[in-house]
């Protein structure tokens, strides 16, 4: 798949930080800040994960769904695309695109039972809304649906480095990297390397020579590592009031 990723639409669509951090004018007018946007994305990425656990889909589907979700908001506003509906719809679309379909009915059942706090009562979407949103999301994604993830390169790289005992730690780090927009910015194997880098520090493994032999830009790896650590630091646990403060700026459901 080496040739595969490099020629994929995912690779061609990798974005720079500036493309991601900006808040659309319509959202700005509602007082939404970059920080609010970040919090909404973390909160709803967690929500996608929660729904997915109930629906018992594979991690790959979750990862694809979150990548769709994050990619959509590099192009669309929260005001026009209510993230509380977009998030479950991304899971629905990803489940189909990754060939493990979750029935709309079932998804809707979980949506009803596990709201997107803090105002879950207000936002009760129906199946019909999900299916309508599916079409809008396909268009927003410009119909590009293939996403590559760091999981497979991670397994291979760990084997290559002789560090398979780090699989648990690094796998979990990869999961948590979806709390950031990294998947939209870097090739998956680079994210995997950054997770191995953190894993080595945590578990006191010296993989210095191995990293040197790879001849990757260690500054890039370190930057990604810092971004992941920043997530643990500031976004792993967001106070409920802070989440609420961000969501309250979204328009009420029309």
């Amino acid at each position: 798949m080496a040739a595969n990723f490099w020629t994929s639409s995912h690779c061609k669509k990798l974005l720079e930080q500036e493309d991601i951090a900006h808040v659309s004018p319509i959202d700005q007018n509602r007082g939404l800040t970059t920080e609010d946007a970040k919090i909404i994305k973390v909160h709803l990425s967690n929500y996608i994960r929660k729904l997915a656990q109930h629906a018992k889909v594979r991690q790959r589907v979750v990862a694809t769904a979150i990548a769709y979700f994050r990619r959509i908001y590099t192009r669309k506003s929260f005001s026009e695309y209510d993230p509380r509906l977009v998030a479950p719809t991304c899971l629905y679309l990803a489940s189909k695109a990754e060939e493990s379909t979750v029935q709309a009915k079932l998804l809707h059942y979980y949506m009803k039972n596990f709201g997107t706090a803090p105002d879950e009562k207000v936002f009760r979407y129906e199946i019909k809304d999900v299916l309508e949103m599916e079409m809008r999301l396909l268009e927003a994604l410009d119909y590009y649906l293939v996403i590559y993830h760091p999981y497979r390169p991670l397994v291979q790289l760990l084997q290559d480095a002789g560090l398979t005992e780090l699989i648990q730690t690094t796998w979990a780090l990869v999961n948590d990297s979806y709390g950031t927009d990294l998947i939209l910015m870097y090739p998956p194997y680079v994210i995997a390397l950054a997770c191995i880098y953190i894993g080595c520090i945590l578990k006191e493994k010296d993989a210095r020579t191995w990293f040197e032999e790879l001849r990757v830009d260690m500054n890039v790896i370190k930057n990604i590592a810092m971004e992941i650590l920043d997530f643990y630091d500031n976004y792993r646990q967001i106070p409920e009031e802070r989440v609420h403060a961000a969501f309250i700026k979204l328009p009420p459901r029309s």
């Binding site: 990723f5 790959r60 189909k96 396909l138 497979r152 084997q159 979990a172 998956p188 370190k222 792993r236």
Partner: protein, 428 residues
């Protein structure tokens, strides 16, 4: 492009070209480019499951595949509650060519059609896409004579989560023996088998192996190539639906294709090899002597083809043949054995697994985890790092980290001690 396409009126609808399983195809004029296009209108269910997965599959894969021998998906746009796929307009298809009695196909023509088919396939396989529905009517022919693979509604990316693929793919006559024996972990070889059948069909001008049932299909295959011996195809007996067939020797291939050259017979035999592991790959086939020596493949523009796209086509009736060998043992469906366990995780041609985005050669593929299998599949991997168990430990000195980095990281990790109980709920 997406914005433009939503403004209705870009396409002026023309006549209906045909109807498929999940939609109608009509001819249209793209006013933006002045090109004639084919618009496939996908019927959506009654607000039950949204966009049909076959349509989604076709869109997803064609957005990644760009090749002169793969149909171009020009645009996709929603219209009312339907999704419309815009393809380049294709004048004809290979089935129409094969069936047209006014057309004489020279060996150079056949070579040209085969080369284009294999080029399209090689591109798919390079991108880990299996077509899985190769047959003459899915090989469309453009106005300039280029043959293009179409109908990706059954196609799959190798290594999709559902690693056990269904064997209910391909029209029966083009189905590889491993599929007929119920294999669920097949690879690119299934497409090559179908291409081999198409090659034979181009020479014979009728479908080569016309089985009337799966059992009969295998019978037809064995009647043509002999019942395979264990040494020829070691994995055969462990396939899920394996049944023993009465031994039947192979007639000389030459007797079935009296007009074919030695090289043509050789490449045909390599494409129709029983063991998918020994079957030739699309890339290897393109480098086969058959394509190197005379006659050179006919230039696509000069290929003979039917004057216009016929409106309705019907399949030839399936013919039962009495000459096929008979089944000796009853189907044994209880035996479920995984083909290709463990190894060769990076070979598209050997198994239903996928490689990684990792650009370096792996030194050791024999680690604890089977390539292509995610640890999460075993439910033993936490979804999130528990920093509490590790953060208290000192960070080892690592020359790749300078001291500033180190203290920064350490500070970060120490702070994480305060992080609480989030990850428990994330366990699978």
């Amino acid at each position: 492009m997406a914005e433009l396409s939503t403004t209705s009126g870009r396409y002026i609808k023309g006549v209906t070209l045909g109807e498929g399983t999940y939609g109608v195809v009509f001819k249209a004029l793209d006013t933006l480019t002045n090109r004639t296009v084919a618009v496939k209108k996908i019927r959506l269910g009654k607000y039950k499951e949204g966009v049909h997965v076959t349509a989604l599959r076709e869109i997803k894969l064609l957005k990644e595949l760009h090749d002169p021998n793969i149909i171009e998906l020009i645009d996709v746009y929603p219209h009312k509650r339907n999704l419309n796929l815009v393809f380049e307009f294709m004048e004809s298809d290979l089935e129409a060519v094969i069936k047209d009695r006014n057309i004489v196909l020279s060996s150079a023509d056949i070579k040209s059609y085969m080369q284009m088919t294999l080029k399209g396939l090689a591109q798919c396989h390079k991108k880990w896409v299996l077509h899985r529905d190769l047959k003459p009517n899915n090989l469309l022919i453009a106005t300039d004579g280029q043959l293009k693979l179409a109908d990706f509604g059954l196609a799959r990316i190798l290594g999709s989560p559902d690693r056990n693929f269904t064997h209910q793919v391909f029209a029966r006559w083009y189905r590889a023996p491993e599929l007929l024996f119920g294999s669920k972990q097949y690879g690119a070889g299934v497409d090559i088998w179908a291409a081999g059948c198409i090659f034979a069909e181009l020479m014979l001008r009728r479908p080569f192996l016309q089985g009337s049932s799966d059992i009969d299909q295998l019978g037809k295959i064995f009647a043509a190539f002999g019942t395979p011996r264990e040494s020829q195809w070691p994995d055969m007996t462990s396939l899920p639906d394996y049944v023993e067939y009465q031994y039947c020797p192979a007639p000389p291939l030459r007797s079935l294709f009296p007009m074919a050259s030695e090289d043509a017979l050789d490449i045909l035999l390599r494409m129709l090899t029983f063991d998918p592991k020994s079957r030739i790959t699309a890339q290897q086939a393109l480098e086969h002597r058959y394509f190197l020596i005379e006659p050179a493949p006919t230039r696509p523009v000069l290929l003979p083809r039917p004057p216009t796209r016929p409106e309705g086509k019907s399949k030839p009736a399936e013919v039962a043949s009495p000459a096929a060998p008979i089944v000796l043992s009853p189907p044994n469906k209880a035996r479920r054995v995984t083909l290709f366990p463990g190894g060769a995780g990076g070979d598209v041609h050997s198994s239903g697994r996928v490689d990684t985005g990792y650009p370096f050669p792996s030194r050791d593929a024999s680690g604890g985890t089977v390539p292509g299998e995610t640890p999460s599949d075993h439910g033993e991997i936490p979804m999130s790092v528990d920093m509490r168990t590790t953060a208290g430990q000192a960070i080892p000195p690592r020359p790749t980290l300078n001291s500033t980095d180190r203290s920064y990281l350490k500070r970060k990790l120490d702070m994480d001690l305060a992080v609480s109980h989030y990850q428990e709920e994330q366990q699978i």
